[in-house]
Symmetry: C3
Subunit: 205 residues, 3 copies
């Protein structure tokens, strides 16, 4: 089990925890919480794979199901203490976001798509799971209103292509891009950086 | 028209009715109710087929559109009496759930996927349509909170693979698995069996 | 840049504006508004392309991203005046609906699907983006309750196949079908034509 795989599991675990916790707050049963956790973790990558016309990555190995099951077990057993671990999960989530973004970009490049598609696929891999999660629990997606989240993926993606352009080796490129996402995300939360919102009109079309 | 086809139509009809009734309660117009009914009936199978990278089954024959139209006509004409038929529809729904689960598992096996993918595909075929339905009518998905529903599909799927392992003939395997789903579902509703839910935390991540 | 491309951009722009405006009303940030606008504009065509098993159209050229960005810039700069332009946007939206419907039908025919699949694909191309939009902003989809919308696509589609049957040239067929959608939509809004809704039952299944 190499380093990347471990990071992948950590990211999956963190994403699953966030889904399971929000589902719990809505009184979902264990099965519902498991589904929401799983969808949060693999939803973005699944949409990406469908658009790239390749089999969804989690259908090729059962690991993601097992990691999600561990996350559910963790919340069931340590539920009361999970809240205190907020900072830990935030870091895990940021690490997962960075890794997922890089994975999404690489898959796009492998399939011959240009940079802007890679940016979208990277961002979608990182952020779409959370959007599906919020839709399932019937809430307005958080990431569209709070601190910079999906934009951190875009920034990381730009670093990725900048490194490629400068001829940086692939491994270093991956690390730089993922770290860029993580740092952007940490700074955004630490300093409460969010994008401006549009003046709400009260009128619907 | 063989026996399996008739069961398939009955299941589609029952699923469509459930979508149309919930859409009606939200004051959707006829077209909206039709769409919600159709999506409830074919949504799970459509996601399955997209993931298996085969054409959505309902695009190959118009039958599912026609069955949904019959369901809409039925609700329009017999609306007042539909409520009294709750028990009948519950049985239809359970039968559809059993059949859809078996269809999902078989398609997975045909495409060479392992057991755990088959369990997911079977469950998704049976239960995902209802989740999309609840999302469209802007409600928290029922199946994540009420009596055992998706888990009945998982149980039926386990029976399926157990029969396969024991060398039971294919037809008998299908019947046993479908009946297991139906019985699990009936017992769950009769005795109000539901999974525990997680203690809701009031704090969101 | 030919005539059809210009129409396509206008439709995309109008659809994106509708998504951005509704997202703004929900206090989405700029990025969220952009995503909702983009999904409103390309969501229907994306589902269609996934079902037809071809690459999503917007992944082949960056134009749709750029048009959506223009729409966002437009709302940011002219936000206050956008409301006064309601009638203009309504016409743009109707034009886009007509064009999108025709594009959806043609793609279905190209891939060898029968008429009824073409009607669904055309309607989905025109109307599904708005449904995803409403799901993302956590509202019950408007098009299932207000004036005739998706049904205008169906009517236009029927005109398309009628023209084909009568041997009308392809270009004229396209124009007639698109104009039929636009006129149906304008008449529906002008005279407040909507489908009946089903008597709401208060009971959920």
């Amino acid at each position: 089990m190499d380093f990347l795989t471990i990071i992948d599991y950590i990211g999956t675990f963190a994403f699953a925890i966030s889904g399971i916790r929000l589902a719990s707050a809505k009184r979902f049963d264990w099965f519902g919480a498991y589904v929401v956790g799983f969808v949060t973790a693999v939803g973005g990558g699944t949409i990406r794979d469908l658009m790239l016309d390749i089999p969804p990555f989690w259908m090729l190995q059962a690991d993601y199901l097992i990691v999600t099951a561990s996350a559910l077990g963790f919340v069931i057993v340590f539920g009361k203490y999970v809240i205190r671990l907020n900072n830990t999960f935030f870091i895990f989530d940021a690490i997962g976001l960075g890794l997922f973004t890089v994975v999404g970009i690489e898959k796009s490049i492998t399939h011959g798509y240009p940079m802007w598609v890679g940016l979208i696929m990277g961002t979608m891999t990182g952020a779409a799971g959370g959007v599906i999660r919020d839709t399932l629990i019937n809430e307005v997606p958080l990431i569209f209103r709070k601190e910079i989240y999906a934009l951190a993926c875009v920034l990381g993606g730009l670093c990725y292509y900048l490194c490629m352009y400068l001829g940086v080796t692939e491994t270093l490129t991956q690390i730089i891009a993922a770290v860029a996402v993580i740092i952007a995300r940490i700074l955004a939360v630490k300093y409460g950086i969010s994008l401006p919102n549009l003046k709400g009109e009260n009128q619907n079309t």
